[in-house]
């Protein structure tokens, strides 16, 4: 690991999902076609990947998290290769200390039976340094304070006691305990009420500046992506159609698709000509 290497580098990633291929044959659906992108330290800390359903953005996130195997291509995080030619190159524990996930639906990310603190303690014990493994409590407390909660607020409670926004904060706290270089958040605010979305988005922004952790923010919402990110990628049907600084993309979109996407956002400022 070093500080000049890209925080995330993805090269020539390909993934085809096969249908009806149990005994060979079947039809293929290309979810990613030769995707390459990178988030370098000089670019900033937040990379957004924007696209509609079927654009391949979630597949890309899952490959970076190694929840899905790529057919070919390489992925490295903070200079450490994690996938090469579609094969895994580090063990899971090393991987989880580099990259942590935040999922779309916080109500499904946690079990109904387990108290939420279990998730925090297990992460601290599994992925923490020796001192943390011996006494996980301070790491758990610190992470909860970082996301604006406290141990007293979470202790002994299950998911029913919290709103979607609060659960997403706990998801972030759990990810932070591993002290990862990168957090991959797949549609983290789409299940959160519109009035609370910005509180979560602002939390990402604050944590990236204050703790230096980088984020990959996967979303279909161009407005929050623009607000949050330093670099933005727009995907469609498994291909990267746009990549660059959000201001530059907004000013001079290079593809027709980006223009259509920009025009379709229901803003308060101008009314569509219907």
């Amino acid at each position: 690991m070093n500080d000049v290497a890209p925080i995330l580098e993805v090269c020539n990633l390909r993934k085809v999902y096969r249908q009806g291929a149990l005994f060979g044959g079947g039809t293929g659906h290309a979810a990613l076609t030769d995707v390459s992108l990178a988030l370098r330290p000089e670019d900033g800390k937040v990379l957004s990947i924007v696209g509609e359903s079927g654009s391949g953005k979630t597949t890309l996130a899952r490959i970076v998290l190694r929840l899905v195997a790529a057919d070919s291509g390489t992925v490295s995080v903070a200079g450490q290769s994690i996938v090469a030619d579609g094969q895994r190159t580090v063990d899971n524990r090393t991987l989880r200390k580099l990259v942590q996930p935040i999922f779309q639906n916080p109500f499904e990310a946690f079990s109904l039976q387990l108290p939420l603190e279990e998730y925090l303690f297990r992460t601290a014990i599994n992925l923490g340094e020796t001192a943390t493994r011996n006494d996980p409590r301070p790491a758990v407390e610190e992470a909860l304070i970082a996301v604006g909660l406290s141990y007293a607020k979470v202790a002994g409670k299950g998911i029913r006691a919290f709103s979607g926004g609060e659960l997403q904060r706990i998801s972030v706290a759990r990810a932070l305990i591993a002290k990862p270089r990168l957090i991959v958040a797949d549609e983290p605010v789409s299940m959160v009420d519109a009035s609370l979305r910005m509180t979560i988005v602002n939390l990402f922004k604050e944590l990236s500046t204050r703790l230096g952790v980088a984020f990959v923010y996967i979303t279909h919402d161009l407005s929050t992506a623009y607000y949050l990110s330093d670099v933005m990628a727009i995907m469609r049907q498994g291909e990267l159609v746009e990549f660059g600084r959000p201001e530059a993309i907004l000013q001079s979109p290079s593809s027709d698709y980006t223009r259509a996407l920009l025009d379709a956002i229901p803003t308060l400022d101008r009314r569509w000509d219907i």
């Binding site: 509180t199 602002n202 161009l222 607000y227 379709a264 009314r271």
Partner: protein
């Protein structure tokens, strides 16, 4: 026109009575698109069910009156009888189009069946109307011969709108008609909906938490909070110059493309219907709250520009 007159409605549960709609007075005017906004759990869907007269799931009107009046004012229908005029006067576009369509039936028979309300109808004439409506919604002719799984999410939602509109009802009620669709598809569907409304001059009520969406299509907007009406008025007044602190908070929480100024959400969440705060229901989350706000639960009062808002600090809020 549907008139809602001081209505209290909700559900009886083992834990007590939930008043999901509490002392609301408003109307759905002829030929308008009315947007209903608010966070989840604020009573939006319950209000829409009342406007549709759908009481299947234990919904009850505890007091007040809802009725429909025809444009000439000659005929009125009470809410309890709305269901006798479903499709003909009132129709409904539900949220999830996949679970609303029968997966084993082609589109044409479903539309014929639903739109007739079980009565015998002239099928040839109906088929022509279906074809015309689907064409207006930019759906290809062959759509009627397909099964739901053969359509994309956007096409299915358009079929649902066509289903609600082809019998030419006076009021179309749509519950989050474009959630779960991509923005490009959402825009096409909203455009279809507005064109259809302009051609037929009926009323449309759209429930959505997306104020950007209301700003594109709605003539008037009603904002609900914790079962109460916070603000109602023309979309221009409510969304450009909000009077109620809650409306303002919702607007401030919206990120705008091209603007990186810090945006704050509204901290906290809407109160539980079983445990309402004393006084104004929004005051525990309100940045403008003063001590008096904990003592009164204000009804909306009408302002000079015709909009109504429920806040005791309106004079200062608008200034």
């Amino acid at each position: 026109m549907i008139v809602v007159d001081n209505v209290v409605a909700g559900y009886r549960t083992p834990a007590g009575v939930v008043k999901a709609v509490d002392r609301i007075s408003m109307e759905v005017r002829d030929g308008e698109i009315l947007g209903i906004a608010g966070e989840s759990g604020c009573g939006k869907t319950t209000l829409l069910k009342l406007l549709y007269g759908s009481f299947g799931d234990g919904l009850e009107i505890f007091s007040g009156r809802i009725y429909w009046r025809d444009p000439d004012g000659g005929r009125t229908i009470e809410c309890a009888d709305f269901h006798r005029h479903w499709w003909e006067i009132f129709s409904y576009v539900p949220q999830g189009s996949m679970s609303a369509l029968n997966p084993l039936m082609r589109i044409a028979p479903q539309m014929l069946d639903a739109g007739s309300g079980g009565a015998r109808v002239d099928k040839t004439a109906r088929r022509e109307r279906i074809a015309k409506t689907l064409a207006e919604l930019d759906l290809p002719e062959r759509t009627v011969r397909l099964y739901p799984h053969q359509l994309s999410g956007g096409m299915r939602q358009r079929v649902m709108i066509g289903l609600a509109a082809y019998v030419d009802p006076d009021v179309v009620l749509a519950d989050e008609p474009t959630t779960a669709l991509d923005v490009v598809v959402q825009r096409q569907i909203l455009e279809n909906l507005v064109r259809l409304q302009r051609a037929r001059k009926n009323s449309i009520v759209i429930v959505s938490h997306d104020l950007g969406l209301h700003s594109q299509v709605a003539d008037r907007v009603a904002v609900l909070y914790a079962g109460r009406l916070a603000e109602v008025g023309t979309a221009d007044a409510v969304l450009r110059h909000p009077a109620h602190p809650y409306t303002r908070g919702l607007l401030d929480a919206l990120p705008r493309l091209g603007d990186k100024q810090p945006r704050l959400g509204i901290e906290g969440r809407p109160p539980d219907f079983m445990d309402m705060p004393q006084g104004c229901r929004f005051h525990p989350r309100c940045s403008r709250a003063i001590e008096a706000c904990g003592g009164v639960d204000p009804d909306p009062s009408t302002l000079a520009d015709g909009r109504a808002a429920a806040c005791i600090r309106l004079d200062e809020a608008v200034a």
